[in-house]
Amino acid sequence: MNYPVWELTTYGGGFLIALVAIVHVLVSHFAVGGGLYLITLEKKAYKDEDAGLLEYVKKHSKFFLLVTMVFGGLTGVGIWWTIALLNPAATSSLIHTFVFGWAAEWVFFVGEIVALFIYFYTFGKMDRKNHIIIGWIYFICAWMSLFLINGIISYMLTPGAWIENHNFWSGFFNPTFWPSLVFRTGISLTLCGVFGFVTAAFLKNEELRQKIMRTCAAWSGIPFILMLIGGWWYFKAIPEPAITIILEKSPAIADYLLLLTWAMPILFIASALMAIRLPHSFQRVFSFVIVGIALIYFGAFEFIREAGRHPYIIYDYMYANQVYVKDVPEVQKAGFLSTAKWTEHKQVTDENLVAAGRDLFKFQCSACHSVDGLLNDIKPLVAKYDNVFGMDSKLNGLGKLNRYMPHFMGTREERWALANYIVSDLNQINDLNMGNPVVAAKKLPVIIPPFNKETDEYVLLAWNNLGMHCISDSDPFWILLPPANDIYAQLVKRGDSPEIITEGVEISYQVQDGFEYPENQVRFWEFADKLLGANLAPGVGIDGLKVSGVMKLEEDLRAFTAPFVPVVPYPADGSFNPYPIFTITAKDKETGKVLMTTKTVVPTSTEMGCKNCHGGGWRVDGVAGFTDETSLDVLAAHDKNSGTNLVERAKNGEPMLCQSCHADPILGTKGNPELLNFPAAIHGWHANFLTDREGMQACVACHPSRPDGPTQCFRSHHSEFMDCTNCHGTMEDHSLSLLKKEQEAGKKGAARLMENLQARTVDSVADINPRTPWVNEPDCLNCHVDFGMGETTDAFNTWTEGAEGLYRNRHDQMEAMMCEACHGSTHAVYPATINKLGANRDSIQPLQYQGNNRPIGNDCTVCHTVQPEFEGHHPNSLRLQISQ
């Protein structure tokens, strides 16, 4: 932002610093401990009057000089060079804060060099006592340089009180200073032994060689005590959230943690092995192998320390992409590019969309993500985003639930530009429809069943209780709702005082042609036992019913139901049809005479938009259905974020029902009582990725309600002037209402999901009324006060008291007709003439019985042979009358 960014693609993501730093630390820590090693052996050589040993020490000090002075010293300078090139803002901050610490370290460097030169060049010429003193001075200077750099490095991870008081000493003697010092001192001593193996391995004198091998083995092994104590202390001293990120959350660190855990004992054992009298040629080769193991061990530690600091470069102070924590609010408001100095694209326009996106990637992301490189390559991470909307949504949610990422910093336009760059440039995809083709409305023919007002004695009303039953045909991997529509019917005997008939009749239902064998279209029945714990024969629903059969009587509802009818939106011709039509027939039980026939749409859709973010595309007809890719990615994301092993289970042929762990009232599952219920979990999680959206943009991302789509499930007349959010609230509000209830119930997971959600329809989160999903829902009467015309279009935040209060479960004030019998299913209440497959598809019964689209009872003579004067069903029911 403040500084230009070196455009690195393959070698980006921190690769250069990782390379330079890891080779440096190996040699530099050796440089520290090696001093002690040399003087210890020198003293022993004097004590034992061992000329051979003394000669070895002299040779080793030459090796020491050549390795540490040249390679060690210059790679140290190299680190400095590299950090200034990769992160000048942090380098500047560190230098301006700790300049005198570094200046003091420099003094000790001078001392080290002078001491080492003198030590080597006067070996054998200087008086023994003085020579040892020179060695000691070397070691003290070297250890002090470690002491000083340790303060600065540990500060970056745990700045401690410095954040408040900006005091040099608070920053220097920070929470991980001492544990890190102990750990690094341990490493320094171990490395003497490790490098000692190399020089010893080239000794010709076998006795001497073995003696030194044993000494080196001791030098390698004993300091493990310091490393273990220091290491354990180090882990204890790292605060949250860093320690959880390191131990559990970061996918990048997990492998290195494993490497570290293995490399430590392997190094110990390998070093101990060298104490055994092994063949000379083996010792020569194996000594280098041990150096390699040490490199891996030490490299893994440094890598973990660095990666554990993400998303910061200086914890709680500066992000890894050089933005100061304190500047983020300004950046979010004014824009990242407009506050950056080194960009030519201060504002995002239509013309510079991708170029601005490229700059945003460079400045915000490339600090940690290489492109086609070794470290944190961005390409595999974004490969599944085949559309800008999905990528933009991912950026929307960045860092809100995974603490090792920062939030996206910038305006909506900038976020969109970045998403465009990633999808079009990195993924080379240029689909303007974003994988969701525009589906034109069709006009599938519907034959309205006949009704003769003069002669017919019965009126049969039938409906699906939900306006849409979504199913996920992701069965081999997981399922969130099985094929299970609930069909209802009420039979009315017409008359002066119409009667509801529940006895002596049989109501049957039959799916339209082409939909008879759902088991051939979806794989649900292959996995039903694993998914639901129920052994279902192919084509049989959860309650034992097939797509055609006989309805059961529900006495207290005064209606007939066919629960969990397993219809799927896939007719035999391979197309997608979310509105299969069922024929409902009422027959006299005794005589078998048909009393009345009607038809109703039984809506079901697999146009669930998971693929918009989880990749994979649509499976059926390019408009609906789950590909394996989408299904797997959903599980992979869940595994990564929640530490589950769902991918493995699916691959072993054991897919799960989401609601088996996450309770859900609609399926009646209790799940794991510590986890959020399913709607709270799924909406709460995804809300973080879909904030601040206009209208129903967020809903449409997942639900089959895209107006250009093949389902368009919200299709009543309400949809002409309202959208989902009028009743259900925005995504944030919707989720907060569910999460608040869970939080009040003591569920720990709610807080994290709520943290970054703002209420939008109401003033604050405190104003949102908590609710249980599927049970506390917005009610028609929120707007239609006293059953009149709607007085407002804001139905959010007032819920039904319980399931009995739901529109779809209620009856009129006489406890006779169910509301839906006359008014139609939720989301498709009459008039509903916007069905994607034909204007009259949702209006079959009004057309059949009344010749219009209005609710049944327009006019009352559909059932009442004598026009009633008073409003029996509900107030205002005589308001709108259209005469025949």
Partner: protein
């Protein structure tokens, strides 16, 4: 685009800028002195090796003994001024470094190669035989190249007007080749290093610090000859350097600022004096004059920097958020360090006397 808009905001400093300035000048002087011995020494060694006669070969061997020390201390003495220049001018030098990132990044790796080359040249001088000259060329060429890169960075950091090139070349491959003052500046350092190195080796001879069997008189003579000829060339290069500076910068030294003008006059005077004294082969006097000349030159170099940056920045712009205890800590450590080093050198020279007895 207004160049000033690209200049990053500097961080605050913990003590008034004068402290850092003095430390910068002091440590940079040390760095330049040793760097001259390193670079110039390598060049002189190369010339001597090319001449090939016995004494010249011994001269190149003598230099070979000292060469690794000079590299070690050049790097070490470079750390401090780089630290202080980043405190005072970080917003400029980080930016220019990134613009030439690929080149800048290559430096330490190349230096490792040159350094090992110098050690091999030193330790295996006899074993290599005549082909040792290729090794010498290798290391000297790398050092010359590194110096050139440094000059590029030090000039690019002063010219934010040039920084817009980043927008078309963001991969770190830029240099400052279009700057006319780059070349005389670079040559002034290179030729100057030959002069100082010649003087350095004359001193080595004068104080009998030789390790090889090179003739002492020959060493002093050759050293002073290199010193004199190089100083003569330096005077021409110096004028060239002055004349290609941007008008506003040059005018500072030609009356614009009394301090700068006096420094320039002093520098020219010292240059001619050094020439004369070198011709007379007066080693100690020449060393004193040269030390003063170096101080004046370093100061002038910084006046040039201040003049270039005047439209954008002056050191008094830096905000001070006082915290003196770290400075005191450093000064105490520095004092201890000096004492330790003094003690070690005493031991070292003491044992040398023992050996030679």
């Amino acid at each position: 685009m207004n160049p000033a808009a690209l200049i990053p905001t500097p961080d605050t400093i913990s003590v008034p800028w004068g402290w850092f300035y003095v430390l910068l000048m002091l440590t940079f002087l040390l760095h330049i002195m040793v760097m001259n011995a390193m670079l110039g020494g390598g060049i002189i060694a190369l010339f001597s090796a090319l001449r090939g006669d016995q004494q010249n070969t011994l001269l190149s061997k003598e230099i070979g003994y000292k060469w690794p020390y000079t590299i070690a201390f050049t790097v070490n003495m470079g750390v401090a001024p780089l630290l202080f220049v980043q405190v005072l001018y970080g917003q400029f030098i980080y930016s220019s470094s990134i613009l030439m990132a690929v080149w800048w990044f290559s430096i330490f790796g190349l230096l490792i190669l040159a350094y090992y080359g110098a050690y091999i040249y030193d330790f295996k001088f006899e074993a290599l035989g005549n082909p040792r000259i290729f090794l010498l060329e290798f290391s000297v060429f790398i050092l010359l190249f590194i110096g050139f890169l440094f000059c590029n960075n030090m000039t690019l950091m002063l010219q934010p007007e040039k920084w817009q090139a980043y927008f078309s070349h963001g991969g770190g491959t830029l240099l400052n080749l279009s700057d006319a003052s780059l070349y005389p500046r670079y040559l002034h350092f290179v030729v100057g290093s030959v002069a100082v190195a010649g003087l350095f080796f004359a001193l080595v001879g004068h104080f009998r610090f030789t390790k090889s069997s090179v003739n002492r008189e020959f060493l002093i003579n050759q050293g002073m000859t290199y010193f004199t000829y190089a100083t003569a060339v330096q005077i021409f290069i110096g004028f060239w350097f002055l004349l290609v500076l941007p008008k506003n910068v040059m005018m500072v030294f030609m009356g614009g600022s009394s301090l700068a003008t006096i420094s320039l006059l002093l520098g020219i005077l010292l240059g001619f004096t050094a020439l004369y004294v070198g011709y007379k082969k007066q080693v100690i006097l020449a060393s004193t004059i040269t030390l003063i000349t170096l101080i004046v030159m370093i100061f002038m170099r910084d006046l040039i920097r201040i003049a270039y940056l005047k439209p954008y920045f002056q050191l008094s712009d830096l905000v001070v958020v006082p915290e003196y205890s770290p400075l005191i800590f450093f000064l105490v450590v520095f004092a201890i360090g000096l004492a330790l080093i003094g003690y070690m050198l005493k031991l070292a020279f003491g044992c040398r006397k023992e050996v030679s007895k």
